[in-house]
Subunit: 311 residues, 2 copies
């Protein structure tokens, strides 16, 4: 399926109302590729330090992830430390240590250059373009970004946006990027910046998809216990892109299915710390929750005579 | 259809980022009955003061609302003054003048006592029960409440909840009432308090419906310009109950349609100040937006072979 992802490989330290974990596996490229792995392999471009546990790479490899583009450099691995409040919606960054990530220059193995589906994880928009420059003829390019790049590298981000087909952002990022509070207007502005499709992730509420005149709203699967929201967005993107690359179908209905698959993968990812839930997840569970999502959203036509005719 | 509603009739003064209005028509009974009027008449129990403009009552009467239970008392009408921030999600109450509402003792006209569908708007839970005591054999009783009653009259509220079939609350109220942060757990706790069904309204995100093992998630119609969120919840309840009372169907699918109808009515109500959008709204517009809601939420089955078999 030739799906390529660039992003971070990290050691995360997390505090949530349900407990804490130190230096567990994290990073956008890991969540993305593990989620996508249920549909096929992902080629990963990333950097780790000398201290990065081989067991984590072995886990990803066991999921069929192609690690030829993961380079090990002298120094320490990228570390992120965050804390979530009771409502679990907002991550407070306590500490970021870029380490080997500071000098990350994505260099694609020759075998990656024919990738058709490309996911540019949340990294410097300049590096996102550097990856794109090395891919011969991508069929669909998606990217993620965050408030930091919107504020500090807007021009560079806009350059990247002109070259991508699909953008993943959350509500707040969509509003910040567009300068519009109304999500409908924000979507229209962002689509005018380049991408032909836009996914707005809304956490526990679900996701909106905009493309041309298409609008699709997927409700999130109501998870009884959210343990750790870290990586939900990347798991969403991994499910979404993994599905698309496997289905090789970009029809409006396929894009809708991709949104729901993304939402399903994110709903699993948050049920345990780090990537732990993705380790035990099975194809049958994904199929089952997709079916539940259909049932969750199902309703039928209004009876034609139920509205007062005279009004 | 014999739908009865008790609630407030108010003169609202509003400040939103889009402008302000002084002493415009408001109150839960007005939004509710105007929204329900597209499906049939509502019998309203409420109180107004000597200063309440006859034109507002004439408007409701023109919509087929039964005002036999609206009494005019010496004194001034209930007034509420509120302000919305840029995000329009939270109302800040600037001033509340109960006026004639302070001594409101709901007294049902004899002709109202056979009402089958009852909506107990957001008033003192004791008064909600006083209304129920006067209804002979209600078929379906729904109620609304708010943080104020949850905090200050919890025991009384719990008494009311044991007598209602359906509760409408928002996210925050569901969490406060149940003491659970997880919406799924909150719903289970609230259903154990009495109601056999629960609607959790989530503003711009939509609504969740819980009953037994049934869970339904409706996404809100994405409104490009929200002008005034006042009354959205009551318009939702009015559409929901108006539809149910007209359809006389409480099957799981009918309840789902009711949630979507409620969501559609709320989406119109917020497009203009006060009840203004409900004044010009037509049955065709409601039908049209319901059809759009179906399109908005539509997706189909996952291809059976798209997941990796070995994983």
């Amino acid at each position: 399926m030739a799906l390529l992802a660039v992003g971070s490989v990290a050691l995360d330290s997390l505090e949530t109302p349900f407990g804490q974990r130190d230096e567990v596996l994290g990073g956008s490229a890991c969540y993305f590729s593990a989620a996508a792995s249920f549909f096929g392999p992902t080629r990963v471009v990333a950097v780790v330090g000398e201290d990065f546990p081989q067991a984590h790479l072995d886990f990803l490899a066991s999921r069929g992830v192609d690690l030829a583009g993961v380079v090990r450099k002298p120094g320490r691995t990228f570390r992120w430390k965050g804390r979530y409040e009771f409502d679990l919606n907002t991550a407070h960054t306590l500490d970021t240590q870029l380490n080997v990530f500071a000098d990350f220059k994505p260099d694609l193995p020759a075998a990656y250059r024919d990738s058709e589906y490309v996911f540019l994880g949340n990294i410097d928009p300049e590096l996102q373009r550097a990856v794109l420059d090395q891919v011969r003829a991508p069929r669909l390019v998606a990217c993620d970004t965050m408030n930091f790049w919107i504020t500090s590298k807007r021009e560079s981000l806009e350059k990247t946006l002109r070259r991508v087909d699909l953008l993943f952002v959350n509500d707040a990022e969509a509003r910040q990027l567009s300068g519009e509070h109304s999500i409908v207007k924000a979507a229209a502005r962002i689509l005018a910046m380049g991408p032909r499709a836009l996914v707005i992730k809304r956490g526990e509420y679900g996701a909106l998809y905009f493309s041309g005149r298409e609008v699709f709203a997927a409700s999130a699967y109501p998870v009884p216990d959210v343990f750790d929201p870290t990586g939900a967005g990347d798991s969403f993107a991994g499910g979404f892109m993994g599905y698309l690359a496997r289905a090789r179908d970009e029809s409006p209905l396929a894009m809708r299915r991709a949104v729901v698959v993304g939402s399903v993968l994110a709903s699993f990812a948050v049920e345990q710390f780090s990537l732990d839930r993705l380790r035990t997840l099975t194809a049958d569970e994904i199929r089952g929750r997709y079916a539940e999502a259909r049932q969750l959203a199902h309703f039928d036509d209004l009876e034609p005579d139920v509205l007062e005719a005279r009004r």
